[in-house]
């Protein structure tokens, strides 16, 4: 069964349920588990690894509207954002705005035929 063949509402309810699973489970076992345990540390690593994979995939091989932008623009904007981020003591807001601003400028310039 592919996701496309099901109604988005059915998929959404399932997505909400699997998300609440972690919240509810954590609340239930909160009294019984050591927050510093190795298993929980590994779980945190898996979560971050997965999110990094998702973000990286969106930059390199996007699906949807970002597909209409050039890879070199997305990479350039991301690199510029990271340069600003590290130049200003890991400033999250500045990195985000620099990357987004750079992408906006690049896409606008290409749309106008500037380069």
């Amino acid at each position: 069964m592919s996701a496309m063949s099901s109604s988005p509402w059915v998929l959404l309810i399932m997505a909400i349920a699997v998300t609440y699973l972690w919240r509810g489970l954590g609340t239930m076992i909160a009294a019984r588990i050591d927050p510093e345990s190795r298993f929980l540390q590994w779980i945190a690593c898996v979560a971050y690894g997965l999110l990094a994979a998702l973000i990286s995939r969106i930059v390199f091989l996007p699906v949807g509207i970002l597909e209409k932008t050039l890879l070199i623009d997305r990479l350039g904007a991301t690199a510029f954002g990271f340069a600003m981020f590290f130049a200003f003591k890991k400033h999250i807001g500045l990195g985000t705005l620099s990357a987004a601003g750079a992408l906006m400028l690049l896409v606008w310039a290409r749309g106008e035929g500037i380069f």
Binding site: A3, L40, L51, L54, S56, G95
Partner: protein
């Protein structure tokens, strides 16, 4: 105390703006955008949900991917729930409070804990989360509606805003194991996607997470 509310609420609204535009560009409806925001209430899981519907991946892969994307809620709720233990009413409602927990509201509550008594935490958290939920619903609606009228270069930037914001949030982390997992995931993500688009998220999560975790253990041992 009210000034403490404005920044997290603003961040929620701004990031949901991008999500609203993303749902619109994916060809889905405004009710889907709003319900997925309030129901999943975690941007990575929301983005994964939309991406999965766009890809048309198998449902089992989608559910594993979304639950893995939201797995961080497990350790978060583990440290979150005990905060209400001191108050009777707060403790009873903790299964509801945990639904409103996001990275933003979790950090917001953690920062206030030292100055709040256990009895004050539930009312504070309820008010704080409500503001964030309203800001999120407003942001996603505005983003969705704006996506219809805005020029392409603005819409595409709003869609880009979310993933890139999280890239910086995670890159600013201080825990080495998480940073290593994050770096491994950034490399593995696109490569594993080329091998198997449908299963790339759960596989890269487990691979990159294990690489980060064990690399950190190894570095600890080398140093000792």
């Amino acid at each position: 105390m009210r000034d403490g509310f404005s920044l997290p609420a603003f961040m929620v609204a701004a990031s949901m703006l991008g999500y609203g535009a993303m749902v619109h560009s994916a060809g889905m409806s405004l009710p889907i955008a709003i319900v997925s925001t309030l129901g999943i209430w975690g941007m990575p899981g929301q983005v994964a949900f939309i991406e999965y519907v766009l890809l048309g991946a198998p449902v089992v892969s989608m559910m594993i991917g979304i639950s893995l994307a939201n797995m961080r809620f497990l350790p978060m709720s583990l440290s979150f729930a005990p905060l209400f233990r001191g108050s009777k009413s707060g403790w009873r409602w903790r299964y509801l409070w945990v639904q409103f927990m996001s990275v933003n509201t979790w950090v917001g509550l953690m920062r206030r804990v030292p100055e709040l008594t256990p009895d004050q935490r539930a009312p504070f958290y309820a008010g704080f989360s409500t503001i964030c939920l309203v800001a999120g619903a407003a942001g996603v609606t505005i983003g969705f509606l704006m996506a219809e009228t805005l020029p392409f270069f603005v819409t595409v930037t709003l869609v880009f805003l979310n993933p890139i914001y999280f890239a910086f949030v995670f890159a600013a982390m201080r825990v080495r194991a998480c940073l290593l997992a994050f770096a491994a995931g950034a490399v593995a993500g696109p490569l594993i996607y080329l091998l198997t688009p449908e299963w790339s998220l759960p596989i890269s999560g487990i691979v990159a997470g294990s690489v980060g975790y064990y690399a950190d253990q190894l570095l600890k041992r080398v140093r000792v």
